[in-house]
Symmetry: C2
Subunit: 323 residues, 2 copies
């Protein structure tokens, strides 16, 4: 990895990845259409001589192909990451995830680039019967358009590995949080509590169990896995890794930690039911034995990750004020 291409470079996870790559002396071409990406997230990178930002859309294949020239590895993290509102605009997951991923693969092929890392999701397991859920769980049934679009992306990457000799790293993330986090339950809760510190509306009944991973741990895992593989010169086509913390918490736990940190005692208004919305999975917990066997280990607990996220939101009110 000498010159890498990062899609969605101004996004939450990708911008953290960009900073880490630059710190490791790797040249980075950042690609973003700024539909949800944030300019402040690449402000630091832009000051770096080895960073180049190209504004463009994954649906513009000629521009994407041109921008990718000269890179040896692609980190494809750009996506419509909104699971909850998928049914409001079904074409969004198709275009921004499925077709976008196809274009990334075609741009790579046109440039002779074969190494791709892809941000998939634990949502691809649907409502898994085995928990913690391993990478080789039973062939799942999709419960969200988002999960379906990520499965579509994974499948195309795998087929390009087989058919065109690509080298694919697929990472199935749990929910990620930390610095530059711009959506999800901590974001929602914090914004509510800034507006009305005396009450908090909670989707579902608060019993939903979820696993979270701190963004720096996520980025470390991606780079650790790829470096180990490259160093070993191990021939492989596709490697799939679950990325998550070796623990889970309940939404109620998270509320407790957040309220304690903010010294608030809001009234909790639960919308009721065992899940937040249609397609919400009330229990997500991935088996991360495979990635841990590579020597990677999460540095922060879920509680610590939530508290860091909270501190970052407190220091960056522009993130929730602009919404």
């Amino acid at each position: 990895m000498r010159t890498v291409f990062v899609t969605g470079a101004a996004g939450f996870i990708a911008s953290n990845l960009v900073d880490r790559l630059l710190a490791d002396d790797i040249a980075v071409v950042g690609w973003d259409n700024f539909s949800t990406g944030q300019r402040p997230f690449v402000a630091g990178a832009l000051a770096h001589p080895r960073f180049r930002l190209v504004e463009g859309d994954n649906l513009d294949l000629p521009a994407l192909t041109k921008a990718m020239a000269g890179c040896d590895t692609v980190f494809h993290l750009a996506a419509n990451a909104d699971v909850r509102f998928g049914t409001d605009h079904p074409e969004k997951d198709l275009r921004q995830n499925t077709i976008a991923t196809f274009n990334v693969l075609e741009a790579m092929r046109a440039n002779g680039i074969r190494r791709i890392a892809f941000s998939s999701t634990g949502s691809v397991y649907g409502e898994a019967k085995v928990i913690p859920t391993p990478e080789n769980a039973a062939f799942p049934v999709q419960t969200s358009l988002y999960g379906a679009s990520k499965v579509a992306g994974e499948g195309m990457i795998q087929a390009y590995c087989e058919g065109f000799g690509f080298e694919g790293y697929i990472f199935r993330f749990v929910s990620i949080l930390g610095e530059r986090y711009t959506h999800g339950h901590v974001f929602d809760f914090y914004r509510q509590l800034v507006e009305h510190p005396d009450h908090l509306r909670v989707l579902g009944d608060g019993s939903q169990r979820k696993s979270y991973l701190y963004v720096q741990d996520c980025v470390s895992a991606i780079l650790h896995v790829m470096r180990a593989q490259l160093a070993a010169k191990a021939p492989h086509r596709v490697e799939i890794f679950n990325l998550g913390a070796p623990e889970y918490c309940q939404v109620r736990d998270s509320i407790h930690w957040i309220c304690e940190a903010l010294a608030l005692k809001p009234r909790l208004d639960f919308t009721g039911g065992d899940r937040g919305w249609i397609g919400d999975n009330p229990f997500i917990y991935l088996d991360t034995a495979k990635v841990q066997a590579t020597g990677w280990k999460a540095q922060l607990t879920i509680r610590e990750g939530i508290l860091r996220t909270l501190r970052w939101l407190q220091a960056n009110p522009w993130v929730y004020e602009q919404r």
Copy 2:
């Protein structure tokens, strides 16, 4: 099921399905763009008062939506069914399978139609480790663009079932053969032997093991499963069934049966290797216990199916002469 919409109605499997539906007094709107569909395959249906043919393309969403009006069930069988040459034109599987399936779902949603049957494929299992392969095999790695596009289609259908209350029947077919068969190994072997009866070029080493299903058995299975479910008024979201014969054969067996039937003794020229082409799976055999438990049973053996296919090709030279 009173008025059904069949995509790819002039195709191999769909046209056989159309004839069966009409024989069962169900009104059928057939939809085909005739890119690979054959007009003679719907000639019989066109003489039927309950059949209406609409020519159009799945990529034309407004026309598709209009054509579907008034139907209560959709059989989505239109597809680019070419597994072997996927890497020659990767956009074909994306457009004709993935995006086409999305459009079918959107046209259904616009019309308030919620019941869909979908022709998926055993190729979605990639190179399965468990053989015979059950529906709940381990989360597979895709080995063809075709398989990847069918997984994408399955995933979207499943997400529409969860998100929009659709009722989905997903059938994972082995290779189907029989009347109106227009591509595959029997087609290829027969056409070669008509051209040069003294030798036969065989991809791979002939040891590939595949399972085949006779098209009438395939159509019977689809209708049997759906009727049983509708009669039981069993609430369900998604039902997935493998469809195949409870046996497999080697390519060498098939050659033997074909040559015996044609009274030929060609020299066999094997291209070598354990598979026919990149992404070819040298052993496909699906576990069909689930569909058999519904009371369906294949009427023909693989050998009988191959011989019927051969007889149909002999009686319809236009099919291979036009290529």
